[in-house]
């Protein structure tokens, strides 16, 4: 092989989302990135903690970046980095930043090294873009959670009872974490491990699971329903991940602090009286069963 093509074989180019990074040695960083074609990778970026590093600013978490990577003996090495989308608001707005932390923590937790999932990659990138653009972060992240569960094989069954297969009626149904779906009252109400699914909560979950983002973005949820949906999805996710996550606790602290200092986003307070979820029908014909 001539030297030029040998050199080219040792190099590859990827578009990547930076999930996290860790200090390594005096001036280096270990990056965990998600790529569309090669899945999740761990890469070494040398010298990036020196002030004059050309790469440092391009490889902060949440950044969508094009990387030129050299194959190494144990770890592959980042040789060039160029930002495709900085998601600047996610770095400079603490509130949105902490939602973005949760998005990348989930992306990391639900992927294996070098196991590409292009649709999941696109979903992560779209979600970071939405948070960066300033949409209601709770809506964007609930949508993300439901869709990522479908993409990694844990889609909760929300239209029929997972025991008797009967379509769910507009009454209080139940969610079984273990069985990955809803149970009708006669099969779910006696189990200690099931979670009650009030009608508005089930409506919202179904709507988010089946409708495109453009429609989900129009939802206006009451704080109570919003918190119930959040807590149900959090329990469902932790159950199937079989481990707890770190960023939700931070989000919770921040929410408490922002509520205290009355700096909380409009979405947390202004929609208190709205009842947008009433417009969703539980027997929605368009939704798949």
């Amino acid at each position: 092989m001539d030297p030029e093509s040998e050199r080219r074989q040792r190099l590859y180019r990827v578009s990547a989302i930076v999930l996290k990074r860790r200090e390594q040695g005096e001036a280096d960083r270990l990056l965990t990135v998600m790529t569309r074609d090669r899945g999740k990778l761990t890469l070494l970026a040398k010298g990036v903690r020196k002030p004059a590093s050309r790469k440092a600013g391009h490889i902060e978490p949440f950044t969508y970046v094009e990387l030129l990577v050299a194959k190494g003996k144990s770890l592959d090495l980042v040789t060039q980095a160029e930002t495709l989308e900085a998601h600047r608001a996610l770095r400079e707005d603490l509130w949105r930043s902490s939602w973005a932390y949760y998005v990348v923590e989930l992306a990391d937790a639900f992927t294996q090294d070098e196991d590409p999932n292009a649709l999941f990659f696109d979903l992560v990138l779209e979600t970071l873009g939405r948070l960066n653009a300033g949409v209601d972060p709770a809506l964007a992240v609930r949508y993300y959670e439901l869709h990522l569960l479908s993409l990694v094989g844990y889609q909760p069954q929300l239209f029929r009872c997972v025991q008797c297969d009967a379509p769910l009626q507009p009454e209080v149904n139940f969610l079984s974490l273990e069985r990955g779906g809803a149970l009708c009252p006669s099969h779910g109400s006696h189990h200690p491990e099931t979670i009650a699914l009030p009608v508005p909560v089930l409506k919202v979950l179904r709507f988010m699971q089946t409708r495109p983002w453009e429609q989900v973005a129009q939802l206006q949820l009451s704080p109570a329903v919003s918190r119930q949906v959040e807590s149900i999805l959090a329990r469902y996710i932790v159950y199937h991940l079989e481990r707890t996550l770190r960023s939700p606790a931070f989000l919770e602290k921040l929410r408490a602090m922002l509520a205290r200092t009355k700096m909380v986003n409009a979405e947390e307070t202004a929609n208190g009286e709205s009842n947008g979820e009433a417009a969703l029908s539980i027997n929605d014909e368009n939704a798949p069963g």
Partner: protein, 200 residues
């Protein structure tokens, strides 16, 4: 390793390789160097290491590492005691002191917020900073955390907390590094540098 190496040797190698930036190879090299070194470096090191824990305290005002509390910087009344510079690590104090351009005092957080690593506000000296501001009523608080995601988040968090206190809050200017190259600068650094431009 335990079978071929004397236990004190493998023990030191194991301990050294727990240090940041030191792998097992470097740890072995350092250990064997210390074994052969003729000028008593190993003894001097062990004395210095022992003194590290008994001979240092955290300054109860700024949380810098010092020989006594308050530390020499806090105790120096020729420094501007109404100006508090907030940094992540004790090393950052050294860096700012080396410039000779700062005559105020410090507050060391001992880290930066990182939700994904479990570094929450209560793990840092943020509550102590709030108390200092409340009691001491400084003129200005300078947020000198790193321009990284974690540093920016920490600065934003402290800013939120201090907003109602009435103290003037400033952030260290962020721009191009000396020796940096415009062509290779990422867009966030570049746009911050543009926003922070000054007339010549």
């Amino acid at each position: 390793m335990s079978q071929t190496l004397a236990r004190p040797v493998s023990n030191l190698i194991e301990l050294l390789s727990r240090l940041p930036g030191i792998g097992p190879k470097t740890a072995s090299r350092l250990t064997f160097y210390l074994l052969r070194e003729p000028n008593g470096l190993a003894e001097a090191l062990s004395t210095a290491l022992a003194a590290l824990s008994v001979g240092t305290v955290l300054c109860q005002r700024c949380f810098n590492i010092a020989e006594q509390s308050p530390c020499p910087i806090c105790a120096d009344l020729s420094r501007d005691q109404t100006l508090i510079c907030v940094v992540e690590e004790p090393m950052d104090v050294l860096a700012i002191e080396r410039t000779g351009a700062y005559r105020g005092i410090y507050h060391i957080l001992h880290g930066a917020l990182s939700p994904i690593d479990g570094v929450y506000p209560e793990k840092l000296r943020i509550a102590e900073l709030m108390e200092r501001v409340r009691v001491g009523e400084p003129r200005e608080v300078i947020l000198a955390t790193n321009p990284s995601l974690e540093g920016e988040n920490t600065a934003a968090y402290i800013y939120q907390q201090l907003q109602t206190s009435g103290v003037s809050i400033t952030r260290l200017a962020r721009g191009l590094p000396v020796g940096g190259d415009l062509e290779y600068t990422d867009e966030v650094t570049l746009s911050r540098a543009l926003e922070g431009r000054r007339s010549m």
